[in-house]
Amino acid sequence: MVNRPLEYDYTVAKMFMLTTVVLGIVGMLIGVILAFELAFPGINLILGDKLAEYTNFSRLRPLHTDAVIFGFTLSGVFATWYYVGQRVLKVSMAESKLLMSVGKLHFWLYIVVVAAAVFSLFAGVTTSKEYAEFEWPIDIGVVVVWVLFGVSMFGLIGIRREKSLYISVWYYIATFLGIAMLYLFNNMEIPTMLATSPAGETGIGSWYHSVSMYSGTNDALVQWWYGHNAVAFGFTVPIVAMIYYFLPKESGQAIYSYKLSLLSFWGLMFVYLWAGGHHLLYSTVPDWMQTMASVFSVILILPSWGSAINMLLTMKGQWQQVAASPLIKFMVLASTFYMFSTLEGPIQAIKSVNAIAHFTDWIVGHVHDGVLGWVGFMIMSALFHMAPRVFKRELYSKSLMATQFWIQTLGVILYFTSMWISGITQGMMWRAHDEFGNLAYSFIDTVTVLHPYYVIRGVGGLLYLIGFLMFAYNIYKTMSSRPVEERELQNATPMGA
């Protein structure tokens, strides 16, 4: 029953927990600023006219997306891997000096790359491809960090005691492979400093600039094959890895069905990659490719829901736990939001629906019910569960967590309902013709009506950020709260009032 007490080494996990929290705050703070910039454009000048170049919406937007994806989410993925990996493989990082140093190197190089990325995006150094903005020098850094992650992952798997791999490990492996493949192909670019002019000059222009190997429609196709699957292997697969560990662990329940895990996993792997074209509906990519993407998007509902259902059924008969523990509430709501956005996505992938939804705030709404309700909730749950165990302290405050839960839930609801209205409004107004068959609205008319929804979204985002700060504070205080014994930590997390 009780595991052999093995001293797991959480040094690296702790480091990544720190960056999860810090970069989460940074990324979401920028998100809130962005939201208010759209509601009140004067905020573009938040630090004055002189610095507007660095604080305006367009310069900050990639910082937000990259900070929350490559900062917050990836840190969360790494932190949980360095925690979950040891435990389900029954092997401690401390057992291998080599793995320990690879892990630390992984962390420090990650910090260097993050710093370089932040700096370069502020400076406007970007290739413009969404979620792949970095120029080639940073790409190289990303690849090195990723290789180190792979080495430490497969290294740990290599020395494991538990012969067969737990479900979460499947998903971590898939995360590693998926991102590796996608990132490499989408970032094929030629540094322009390699060019030589007819006059024999070399090293012309800025050294970090590059030009994509693909052009036009091809470039778009590769980018959205990447972009869609970056969502898959960044916002879905590793988060599923987390819930498969933390929910059963925290609740002490066995996974409802191995078979369902199995089919969901392989189904997801197979189906996800075909759906990228749903970002390019009605574009210039061939019709059949678009149709294929729509069809696979609809099929994708089932493998996605498989995991969510498996989790909900794992909680069968455990309503008292859901009611009592805010930590379990977070996870149950996370899988609910996961179901919601994986049904919303396929609906938006239907061509006629996409005709309205594409380019509008409805997509932004879809994005955030996924990332706030699913990714954010799940990563915070993971850290809530881990913190008492890595610090050997009880979680500082349960009531703070409960309050945070309701504040953030309200935040997410305000966010996506306002974007839902805003998006459909925008989409319909763009299409409207008047009694004479002329366009009914000039573009700006379709912008001004959105103001109230932009304000509501800003408030929703602000609530979410406040909740996140409460989370950060709770974790911080946990480090100095009441110490607990290892055996008290088997399942439900001990929490102070």
Partner: protein, 308 residues
Amino acid sequence: MNKLYLGGVIFAAFMLLFTYLSVSSSHGGFNGDIVNMLAVTGAIALVMISAFVVIKYVRQMQTDKASGDLADENWDGIGEFKNSLPTGWAVMFLLTMTWGMWYLTVGYPVNSYSQIGEYNEDTKVHNEKFEAQYKDITGKKLVDMGESVFIAECKVCHGLKADGIGGRAADLNHRIAAASVKHVLQNGSNNQLLGMEMPMPDRNGLINATTSMPITDAEIEALATYVSKGLTGTVGADVFAATCVMCHGADGKGVDSMGPNLKEFNTTLVTNILSHGKKGSIGTMPKFDRLNAKQKEAVSAYITSLSK
């Protein structure tokens, strides 16, 4: 009724309200547009399905009990039941896969659908419908139509009141501003206002018949005042009569193939501007090829009506 279902119904009702709000706040409603209807149906389906599926599982949390055979393995204390697949899920997975294969091979195989073909048909239907509707409109209706074009296309530059937004584009409530007249007199003009290459000479080519000399600075000032005031007043009237009538007519209302109307806007003038654009002292006005003939006529009527 169970509290949960009540919650679900309330949630669904709220989301329906939001959907309703977005449709009505779009100031367009469904507009008979099938795409609008499908999008809204999608939104509603999304809410309903999510709400009731989740409630189903939450009910199971409340009333059911975990059961089944546990697998032998166990990871960090986490066990696994050997339960079989939930039937509903398995059936739906099979169905969607079958549907998908059918769709891609039988329903709409490669090349059986063309979005451009669909566009061409939609456009044709749209154009036929509206052409029939506006074919013979005139008068007030025409002006209304023109206003609708103006609001969608022109107000970004000329402003909602067509006043040129503080000199950033032409003020269309007046035929022409003094500064523009001066600029044209000094530099000439070649904007195909007559629909063809027919430049207006610059000051060296403008001979005052009374003095037989190219016009002077003072005369230019006078003309600018005179023309910009709609050819009224006395200042400049003499110079105009001596210099400009040949091309622009004694009343300034233009002469065919010689000079455009300077007194007021008219359909010919505005449609020519829309077809060729116009570059002057205020800036550059782009041409508007994408408007059809009726739209050009309508917006001309609207602009003409502004200074009436």
